[in-house]
C-alpha cells in the first residue's frame, strides 16, 4: 500500500503498523521527544505498536529542532 510519510510517498506492506513507519524514517520506537500525527490527529505513543496504517494515510513524524 502507499502512504505519505512527512510529505513523501512510500510503499509499505499491507497491514503495516505505525511503528513500521517510524522505522522507515529511521526513528527508534523508544526515542523520546518524538510525536506522530496520523491523518492530522495526534496518535499517542501507546498506540504506535498496535495501530495499523490505513491505505493512503498521511503520517507526520516530528521531533525537537532548534528554535526560539
Amino acid at each position: 500500500m502507499r502512504v505519505v510519510i512527512n510529505g513523501a510517498e512510500r510503499e509499505l506492506p499491507d497491514g503495516a503498523r505505525v511503528s513500521d513507519a517510524l522505522r522507515a524514517v529511521g526513528v527508534r520506537a523508544d526515542e523520546r521527544g518524538v510525536a506522530v500525527a496520523l491523518d492530522a490527529e495526534v496518535l499517542p505513543r501507546a498506540g504506535w505498536e498496535e495501530t495499523t496504517i490505513p491505505d493512503g494515510a498521511r503520517l507526520e513524524i516530528v521531533r525537537a529542532t532548534a528554535g526560539g
Binding site: 510529505g7 521527544g33 521531533r63 525537537a64 528554535g67 526560539g68
Partner: protein
C-alpha cells in the same frame, strides 16, 4: 521571601528563558545553556528528516525543561495542532504560542493568536503567547486564560532592543500575569532595560546564539536580568532634565583662593 518567576504556580530558578535557535553546534548550545542559568529552553517541532536528533536529550542533560513553541504557524488551526503534537512529544502542557501574520516581519497575527490561545487554554494547556507590545491585546490574552504574555521588544532576530519602552511599561501595568520580554534583545543592556521596565523575565535566542562568544553572552544576559531586577526593586532616582543636581554639599568648601 525568595524572588522567583512563577508561571502557572511553578516557581522557576531563572528569569531568563533560552531559545535554542541559531547555535553553531550542539556543544556550543549546551555550554550556553549552563552559562545562562535558564531552566526553560524553547524548541520547535519539525519533520524528523529536517530535525537532527539529540537536542531534546541535550536540554535534559543540562537539567532544563523544554518549552515547545509553535514557530512557523500562520493560522490558529496549525498552531493548535502543533501544540498538541508538542504535548505528546515532550509530555508537557506548556507551550510558547506563536502565530505569525507576516513572513517578512514575523510579527504576530493578533486575531489568530487570541483564537488559538482560547482553544488551547480550553484543552488544558499552559499558554505563553508571543504577542505584539499591545496592552489591550495582552489583557485579552490574560482574560482568555494565558499563564503569561510575551511581548516583543522589536522583530524576531533583529537585535534592535526595546523600540517602545513606554508600550512595554503600559502592558506591564495592564496585566497581572507574568510578562516575559521576547524578541529583539541584542545585548545585556536590552535585557536589563526589560527588567527595569517591570518585565518578569526575558527570552533570548539570537543574541546569545549569534554572539561571537555565545557562552559568555549567555552569562552576560543572566547577570543583566539579575541586575535589572535588582534595580527595579531598588527604585531608581527620578530623572532630572537639563540641570545637574550635585550629590556633594557646598557646605564647608575650603577657600583656596591664592593670597
Amino acid at each position: 521571601m525568595e524572588d522567583r518567576l512563577t508561571i502557572a504556580g511553578e516557581a522557576l530558578r531563572s528569569r531568563l528563558i533560552l531559545g535554542s535557535g541559531g547555535f553553531r553546534s550542539l556543544d556550543q548550545f549546551e555550554r550556553a545553556i549552563r552559562a545562562s542559568g535558564a531552566e526553560l529552553v524553547t524548541v520547535a517541532l519539525r519533520r524528523v528528516e529536517q530535525a537532527p536528533g539529540g537536542l531534546y536529550e541535550a536540554i535534559e542533560r543540562a537539567g532544563c525543561r523544554v518549552l515547545p513553541n509553535t514557530a512557523g504557524c500562520f493560522t490558529a488551526r496549525d498552531a493548535v495542532a502543533t501544540a498538541r503534537l508538542a504535548r505528546e512529544a515532550f509530555q508537557t502542557s506548556w507551550v510558547k504560542l506563536e502565530v505569525i501574520g507576516d513572513r517578512r516581519t514575523l510579527l504576530p497575527d493578533a486575531v489568530e493568536l487570541l483564537q488559538a490561545a482560547e482553544t488551547l487554554v480550553g484543552e488544558g494547556f499552559t499558554v505563553l503567547p508571543y504577542t505584539n507590545e499591545d496592552a489591550v491585546l495582552a489583557r485579552r490574552l490574560e482574560d482568555a486564560g494565558c499563564a503569561a504574555v510575551m511581548p516583543l521588544g522589536s522583530p524576531i532576530g533583529s537585535g534592535l532592543g526595546i523600540r517602545n519602552p513606554t508600550a512595554i511599561e503600559m502592558l506591564r501595568q495592564a496585566v497581572g500575569v507574568p510578562v516575559i520580554l521576547d524578541a529583539g534583545i541584542g545585548t545585556a543592556s536590552d535585557a536589563a532595560l526589560a527588567m527595569e521596565l517591570g518585565c518578569d523575565g526575558v527570552l533570548s535566542a539570537t543574541a546569545i546564539a549569534r554572539a561571537r562568544d555565545p557562552e559568555r553572552m549567555a552569562r552576560a544576559l543572566r547577570l543583566a536580568v539579575e541586575a535589572g531586577r535588582e534595580a527595579l526593586a531598588a527604585g531608581r532616582v527620578p530623572r532630572v532634565d537639563h540641570v545637574a543636581r550635585a550629590s556633594t554639599s557646598d557646605a564647608g568648601l575650603p577657600d583656596l583662593t591664592p593670597a
